[in-house]
Symmetry: C2
Subunit: 243 residues, 2 copies
């Protein structure tokens, strides 16, 4: 079943076809405060326009982690709006605000709770909004999958334990919104992933073996994305992004 949505909660999912990244806009229809989770630099104008179209004020541009596959839109959004950038302390990236386990990000009457869920990277967090029954899992948990653990201090044991200990401990009906999907799927639930995730339904040792044998290609954007994302997209931009 579906969680009941409060009438003053605004929600939009957005997509970047190049990196298959999902961006999320969450807002309070009364106070007009809004946040963006995982904006992408190429779409900063689109996202700022949507915030404006919905008569919202962007308070925070938030990342679930330091992405290796695209440059965050955070820096551009800071130029286009009055938002502050937010990322986990453990990410090692610069930002206006650093968050950590059990911190709370408020916009209007709504609250995003921070769970530290490292494993894909050291600084991965999951944002949970209990009243809406939604969680934003970044690359810790993908739909029927999970983020790779062979770069950025990835650690498959940590990933497994954090997904099981934190994300899978949320109510079964919680809707999970990942940072990516490559098959046109947009959301899942705790129940589905506990039953159907081909990797995370396995034992820890089987999971570690699966993750060690993925033989994935070197991430093609990583050498451009990481230096830029370390500064939340504000500095160290590759030439083609400099304005």
């Amino acid at each position: 079943g579906h969680a009941t949505m409060a009438s003053n909660f605004v929600f939009r999912q957005l997509f970047d076809t190049k990196s298959s990244t999902y961006t999320y806009l969450l807002g309070d229809a009364e106070s007009k405060d809004a946040v963006l989770i995982d904006p992408v630099i190429e779409h900063a104008k689109r996202d700022a326009q949507l915030v404006k179209d919905l008569n919202l004020n962007l308070k925070f541009a938030i990342n679930t982690h330091m992405h290796a596959d695209h440059i965050t839109g955070t820096g551009e959004l800071k130029k286009l709006t009055n938002c502050k950038s937010v990322i986990s302390k453990a990410s090692g990236a610069k930002a206006d605000i650093h968050i950590d386990e059990s911190d709370v990000i408020e916009f209007g009457t709504h609250k995003l709770r921070v769970f530290s869920t490292p494993g894909h990277t050291n600084g991965c967090v999951t944002y949970y909004i209990p009243e809406q029954g939604m969680a934003f899992t970044g690359d810790a948990l993908l739909i029927r999958g999970c983020g790779r653990t062979d770069f950025q201090e990835g650690n498959s044991t940590n990933l497994y334990e954090n997904v099981h200990g934190k994300i899978f401990s949320l109510p079964d009906e919680t809707i999970l919104y990942p940072a990516h999907d490559y098959k046109g799927m947009m959301s899942t639930t705790v129940d589905e992933e506990k039953r159907l995730n081909p990797r995370l339904t396995k034992s820890l040792s089987e999971f570690v073996e699966i993750m060690e044998n993925l033989n994935l290609a070197y991430p093609k954007m990583i050498d451009k994305a990481l230096p830029a994302n370390k500064a939340c997209g504000l500095y160290d931009l590759p030439e083609e992004y400099q304005t």
Copy 2:
């Protein structure tokens, strides 16, 4: 604000990156009856698997109109499940069930109401589910846009009058789900399009002039898609789709 979702209503939006088509899965969590709106042939297996993963039974595979840019997944879904195909009578396409203005499609306790909204094609319909405050507009109304009217007996005056008379007459907070988006946007509302649609906020005569001067390229899939879609994807499949 957001409409309140009934707890027995299952909803998923799905995407085809090749044709930028959105497919929608709607289900009743109690009776398990489900429908797919605008499935795409390349994703019939994905969609049938999702129906199964959610323990649903696909009752109907429905199209908003006879698409010119992709082959419907309806035919494949009829092979993979026990569903019946549905399209408007005015489309001229074969199907198990033909619907028309003010018909109702039931799945469990939920009801999709049919509005005839021709203009992009003669057979375009909008499916409205009042209890959820959602409507599926096909190509009649896109996010900040609308379908082209220069093929398939398109008629821009009809399109304008149907969007204004039917879609824009729904409650302002109704969430509109289109058949396509090309910028990574996934939904809009009646309120937004009434305020912000660059074409449909104009007068009828200005709209007709805009639509006459779009100078769009010949639709690259139309000669393959239309013969197949005329049979709801069951027959006249281009060679590469034949199994």
